[in-house]
């Protein structure tokens, strides 16, 4: 088994680096938290990694549109290296602020191998406020997305003020046609939320919660899979445990479905 190295960005107001690194380690990767400046000044080299994660947080305070300044900084200082990283068949994951950064960099949607055009946006939630809640998600099984392979639905927490996915109709159509819409907000019964608050927590067009590039190797999502790294992260776990007990079963400490996203990434690198 080859070693899988995941680079987890940190610094400048990012704040999910510890748990994201932890999630990758649980999935069998060697995860390194790397300050953005260490990458820029060359102390750490992108080519030593196969997975790069733009984590959640408030990069540069998110004062001028979430993820905007982080994207500017990457474009200015690391644009070519990032392109090489992608061209070499590696994986890029953007979670929450990371997703916002990926769309501002233009890495997503990445139509026709164009990784620099901004054509989708994550803008202010329709509810007008930051919101923390767990959501139901439906996975598009036809999507090429590496990270959601063999999954059909899952629950994850969302925590954002700017998560409303927006673009013009033709772009949305293209995303749908390419099966780049990897996950969508849904109702507890699995049907799409169809915009209904709070199931669609932010007013995203077509309930879009996460998209990938046409290759499926770049994935961005608003929900936080790394915050479901342990069974007790789930809001219903005490009920679930009680139900199992009544059936004479123990509460299992098996890996959560949140970790599957990281596991899929690690497996992909190991198998490729």
């Amino acid at each position: 088994m080859s070693e899988v190295n995941a680079l987890v960005l940190a610094g400048y107001g990012l704040n999910c680096d510890h748990e994201t690194a932890y999630a990758f380690e649980l999935a069998g990767a060697e995860a390194t938290r790397v300050h953005i400046n260490s990458l820029i000044n060359g102390d750490v080299k992108l080519e030593d990694f196969q997975i790069m994660v733009f984590v959640g947080g408030f990069s540069w305070g998110d004062d001028h549109g979430a993820g905007v300044i982080q994207a500017v900084r990457f474009k200015t200082n690391l644009g070519e290296k990032l392109q090489e990283f992608i061209d070499n068949g590696n994986l890029v994951l953007g979670i929450c602020n990371g997703f916002q950064t990926l769309v501002n960099l233009g890495l997503l949607p990445g139509f026709n191998h164009d990784y620099s055009t901004r054509s989708v946006a994550l803008t202010f939630n329709d509810c007008g406020n930051f919101r923390d809640d767990w959501v139901n998600l439906t996975v598009n099984s036809a999507s090429p997305c590496i990270f959601t392979k063999d999954m059909d639905s899952l629950e994850l927490p969302i925590r954002h003020g700017e998560g409303k996915f927006y673009s013009d109709e033709s772009t949305i159509e293209r995303l749908l046609n390419n099966n780049q819409v990897a996950i969508q907000y849904s109702m507890p019964d699995g049907k799409l939320a169809n915009g209904a608050f709070p199931y669609n927590p932010n007013g995203s067009v077509l309930d879009i919660a996460g998209i990938c590039d046409p290759t499926g190797r770049i994935f961005g999502l608003m929900p936080h899979p790394e915050a479901y790294n342990h069974p007790t992260n789930h809001p219903d776990w005490t009920r679930k445990k009680e139900e199992l007990k009544r059936q004479g079963k123990a509460f299992e400490m098996s890996p959560t479905i949140g970790l599957r996203i990281f596991q899929n990434a690690v497996d992909y690198i190991q198998n490729s």
Binding site: A10, G11, Y12, G13, N15, C16, H18, E19, Y22, A23, H35, N37, S38, F58, W60, G61, D62, D63, H64, V68, I69, V72, R73, T76, N77, N104, R118, V120, A121, T123, F124, N125, D126, C127, G128, N129, F130, R131, D132, D133, W134, R159, Y166, G203, E226, A227, Y228, N229, H230, T232, N233, P235, D236, T238, R239, E242, E243, K245, F251, M253
Partner: protein, 998 residues
């Protein structure tokens, strides 16, 4: 030439911010607007080429998918437009990050006179909208004149070429820093200067200060460094250090406690020592998990074999009362520096909040600076941004409405951190300084902000209180510093660390210097936001996001390297010495030279007269109420009361799961909408150990007796922890007192002696209950002047004093988080038990308050009776036979049985005759008495015998069961059904008051 970029959402996109303003204008002021659109304005005061401007416009400031922008005023339609920008010198966080982004993308450096300023323009459309309406929306919704300026322009007066013009809020001081010598020829001269300069010196301290500076030896030594009479910076230093905020003069005071009922007179010397320090040190000997208490910025307890947890709490009342958002964000970001400055530094893992404000719908004649509704909105948002942007979860908090807080609101903020027990083979909780170690200031720069914050916090709010102490915390800058300091700590570079909060460098360096016994400071090295600050201003400025660190000279290089990597500014501003002197120079010239031991010598103890009159002697009595008939409506009405009802809109704005550690969330149950008793984290990700946290405050009981207010508050915090499965053997406490002024004055504070007696009683309860429950006080703070003078409708003013308030926070460590439980009912058929005795204790209850009564029979805590129940519950939870547990708090059994039913969205049948009672024979008393020491528990019927065995001989009876049928059914003691109502209806009533807020 400055340039002004206006940015707005494309017109087909929903403007959530604008819509929020439209709704508030309607709901708060009855002003109908058809549309509000928001324009973000970036004013660039720098020399940039057109090409550069174009580049930043398209690549930084405009999202091509959602926004349009222009360097000309945007033609967004309006009837009136409002521009809101900061006043000069107010922290403009987006302005600073804009500079960072522009420097990066353009590859330039901004000059010292160049800057970016952000502001907003709101375009309001509405039929018949007037200038008065617009000004009201500007002044009472969008801007606060303490920190912001605004302009309103009508459609008719708008010049589409000029727009709002160029408003550059640059600070220009044109002032040469000057040290002034203060004459001390008499006490009255110094008193006069103290008043003029807002030094807030205590008149009793003045003779001691003069004596020091008149001492012959002192004068000789001062002459050698070129000083004579005290300088302004020296007196400012003494004033800060002697303030009640820093020195806790009240708690260390001498109380003449006179019980008027028995005519017994007692001398109570030093409440801190007798009621906090002594009991805590006694408990520390018994509890090996207590690591470090009573000296550092926060208390330290053991979490597991390799980690300690750190906890502290404080308030940020005065600034929040004037500028709610700025005050609250500064408060939460500020408290986060305390764990960072504890031991060699800890990582932040959690924050919590407690807000005490006037009623949201207050419509009386008093005119507070900010209406309670606006104040609460601002405070919520401040803590939201401060916590969320720091990447620290905020999974617990509480709100309490009472119009007594209209004089001054309370904003409690609490912070928890975690640290390894050892750093490079040295104990992490310890720190010290050797002579020769460098004094380093890390983080933000120093400006005029926050000057005299400490002394203002030690005064009642009046129209003369300087507004300049209001700031806007910057979580982004602090988060960078936090990450930097932890890396520096792990490399063993930090010898000593403390935060710059109240009193600025004066406090942080002044207090640090005690560890080596001296320091030499070169004040000109302190990085400033702008030139022209006087030396004393640099010394006491409370500019935020700064830490003071002691670093060995040989570690300086590495420390600065790491600082640069994290984009944090760190500057050597002096050296620690062992000369016994605080020696400050500015460009080589001495401006302060004071013996450090001055502060610990000879200042007089504050004295207070305390008069206690028991409640019955004060005319309190039990109201005469005949039993109600319509219990259903009554219960729904109680559930809808502001201090009982759902406040989900607040919890959901706070990120409560960042760091991936969430175990028990603030909202639990099937609908994830009912408040948990406490919260639990898994701060060390690869361990199944948990850190549990709860908080309580119940100031209403102070109307009867602050002793019982205090004991009930502590008891509630403890029961909250036990309800989620915490360990009764490990409970740490944090006391946060907020009290009105207790210094008697016949004109200004005629009931000061009573309030002083309440404080003495409260401290005694703190001591008694903490000893009984074995709770060491890991940390605590006090805020002593919760009074305000509010204008009325005839030009008169009214002194409004808050209820005597204690917030008590409690921590516990859980060995196995998978044994934690939540309060929601789990399964139909489960048996419902009530633990603990319900007594006739409606005094101060929500039930009485609903009818406008206070009553007399306040709940009492009886540790001897309660403790066996608590241990038994611990045992039952450990055996994993408890399906859900919930404490009985404000509102009594009626409210809390309902909440358990609501949590599971299941029905419940309860027989009140079966509730363990003591001398109670009425249904309303059983349902609404707030007796302490009680729980509601549900269990799987198959564990009945085992469960009842654990509680044998204890007050614990099965009172009913959980039902599939989703109704809440209560049988009264006369065997008749008195309530039968769908649980959903109860939930709807409980959610109703704030259901439209999100």
């Amino acid at each position: 030439m400055p340039n002004r970029l206006e940015i707005t959402l494309k017109s087909n996109l929903f403007d959530a911010e604008g819509e929020g303003i439209r709704q508030k204008a309607k709901n708060y002021f009855g002003i109908d607007l058809s549309q509000v659109r928001t324009i973000h304005v970036v004013t660039i005061d720098a020399d940039l080429s057109d090409e550069q401007l174009k580049k930043i416009q398209t690549e930084v400031f405009t999202n091509p998918v959602t926004q349009i922008s222009s360097f000309e005023p945007l033609p967004v339609e309006f009837n009136w437009t409002i521009w809101v920008g900061y006043r000069p010198g107010v922290k403009d966080n987006p302005g600073s990050t804009a500079v960072e982004a522009m420097e990066d993308i353009l590859g330039i450096k901004f000059g010292p006179n160049e800057a970016v300023y952000t502001s907003k323009r709101f375009c309001l459309k509405g039929k018949g909208l007037t200038a008065e309406d617009t000004d009201k929306i500007a002044g009472e919704l969008l801007a606060n004149d303490i920190i912001q300026q605004w302009k309103i322009i009508s459609k008719e007066d708008w010049d589409p070429e000029v727009g709002i013009g160029f408003i550059i809020p640059k600070v220009r001081l044109d002032h040469i820093p000057t040290v002034i010598t203060i004459p001390i020829d008499s006490d009255s001269t110094l008193k006069r200067i103290s008043d003029e300069r807002n030094l807030a010196l205590n008149p009793n301290d003045i003779p001691i200060i003069r004596k020091y500076f008149l001492d012959e030896n002192v004068q000789t030594a001062r002459t050698k460094v070129g000083l004579s009479d005290p300088t302004d910076i020296e007196l400012e230093y003494i004033s800060q250090a002697r303030s009640d905020h820093c020195n806790h003069n009240t708690f260390r005071g001498l109380f003449h406690y006179h019980d008027l009922a028995t005519d017994n007179l007692e001398i109570v010397d030093n409440l801190f020592k007798t009621c906090i320090e002594t009991p805590t040190l006694e408990l520390k000997k018994k509890k090996s998990w207590v690591v470090s208490v009573l000296w550092d910025n926060a208390g330290v307890g053991r979490f597991d074999q390799d980690h300690y947890y750190v906890v502290t709490g404080e308030t940020h009342n005065s600034p929040s009362n004037m500028e709610a958002y700025g005050g609250a964000i500064t408060g939460i970001v500020g408290i986060y520096r305390d764990p960072m400055g504890t031991g060699k530094g800890s990582k932040l893992i959690m924050g919590s909040y407690g807000y005490c404000v006037g009623h949201r719908d207050y419509n009386g004649h008093l005119k507070p600076r900010l209406h309670p509704r606006r104040l609460l909105d601002g405070v919520i948002e401040g803590v939201r941004d401060g916590g969320n942007k720091s990447g620290i979860p905020t999974p617990f908090g509480q709100v309490f409405f009472n119009n007594g807080y209209m004089g001054k609101c309370l904003v409690f903020v609490t912070a928890l951190g975690i640290m390894p027990d050892m750093v490079k083979e040295e104990p992490a909780e310890q720190k010290d300084i050797s002579p020769g170690d460098l004094v380093i200031m890390s983080g933000g720069r120093v400006g005029k902000d926050g000057i005299h914050g400490v002394t203002a916090a030690s005064e009642s709010f009046s129209e003369h209180t300087p507004a300049g102490h209001v700031q806007i915390g910057d979580p982004y800058t602090q988060k960078k510093m936090h990450d930097f300091l932890l890396e520096a700590r792990d490399e063993g570079l930090i010898k000593f660390i403390t935060d710059n909060g109240g009193g600025g460098l004066s406090s942080s360096i002044g207090e640090s210097a005690m560890f080596s016994n001296g320091c030499d400071i070169q004040l000109e090295k302190v990085p400033l936001k702008y030139e022209g600050l006087d030396q004393w201003e640099i010394w006491i400025s409370e500019s935020q996001e700064r830490m003071t660190v002691a670093v060995r000279p040989e570690d300086l290089k590495r420390f600065l390297e790491l600082s640069e990597k994290h984009a944090v500014e760190s500057t050597v501003v002096g050296t620690f010495t062992d000369t016994g002197k605080l020696h400050i120079t500015y460009n080589g010239k001495t401006c302060a030279y004071i013996d450090l031991d001055l502060l610990s010598s000879g200042f007089p103890q504050w004295e207070f007269d305390a008069h206690w009159q028991p409640p019955d002697k004060r005319g309190l009595f039990e109201p005469v109420i005949k039993e109600p008939v319509d219990y259903e409506t009554l219960l729904k009405d109680i559930l809808s009361r502001p201090n009982i009802c759902s406040k989900e809109w607040i919890s959901r704005q706070y990120d409560h799961e960042v760091q991936g550690t969430s175990v028990i969330k603030p909202l639990v149950g099937v609908g994830r909408d009912v408040n948990s008793d406490a919260t639990v984290l898994r701060p060390v990700l690869d361990s199944n150990k948990g850190l549990a946290f709860s908080q309580s405050l119940m100031p209403t009981y102070s109307l009867i007796d602050a002793y019982h207010m205090t004991s009930c508050t502590i008891d509630e915090a403890v029961r909250r922890l036990l309800s989620i499965g915490a360990n009764f053997e490990h409970i740490g406490g944090v006391d946060n007192f907020c009290w009105p002024n207790i210094q008697y004055n016949p004109g200004n504070n005629p009931d000061g002696r009573f309030k002083a007696a309440q404080l003495v009683r409260s401290c005694r309860a703190l001591r008694d209950i903490c000893l009984a429950y074995e709770i060491p006080l890991l940390s605590g703070k006090d805020s002593m002047y919760v009074d305000g003078h509010l204008p009325g409708r005839y030009g008169e003013t009214h002194k409004i004093s808050a209820l005597e308030t204690l917030q008590f926070s409690a921590t516990s460590v859980i060995d196995d988080i998978t044994k934690c439980i939540t309060m929601d009912s789990k399964m139909p058929g489960d048996l419902v038990y009530v633990l603990g005795i319900t007594r006739n204790e409606l005094g101060g209850s929500e039930y009485y308050e609903h009818f406008g009564y206070i009553g007399l029979n306040v709940p009492k805590v009886m540790p001897d009776q309660f403790t066996p129940v608590y241990r038994a519950l611990d045992h039952a939870v450990d055996k994993e036979i408890v399906a859900s547990a919930h404490g009985v708090y404000r509102g009594g059994l009626g409210v809390h049985l309902s909440l358990m039913a609501m949590g599971g969205n299941l029905g419940m049948e309860v027989d009140l005759a079966k509730v363990p009672l003591d001398n109670v024979d009425r249904n309303d008393t059983i349902l609404f008495s707030e007796s302490a020491g009680r729980f509601i528990v549900s269990i799987d019927p198959q564990h009945k015998e085992l469960f009842e065995n654990i509680f044998r001989e204890l007050p614990c009876t099965c009172v009913g069961k959980i039902t599939e049928e989703p109704d809440f059914v209560v049988k009264g003691i006369d065997n008749k059904i008195i309530i039968s109502v769908p649980v959903n209806d109860l939930k709807a009533a409980w959610k109703k008051p704030f259901k439209d807020l999100c």
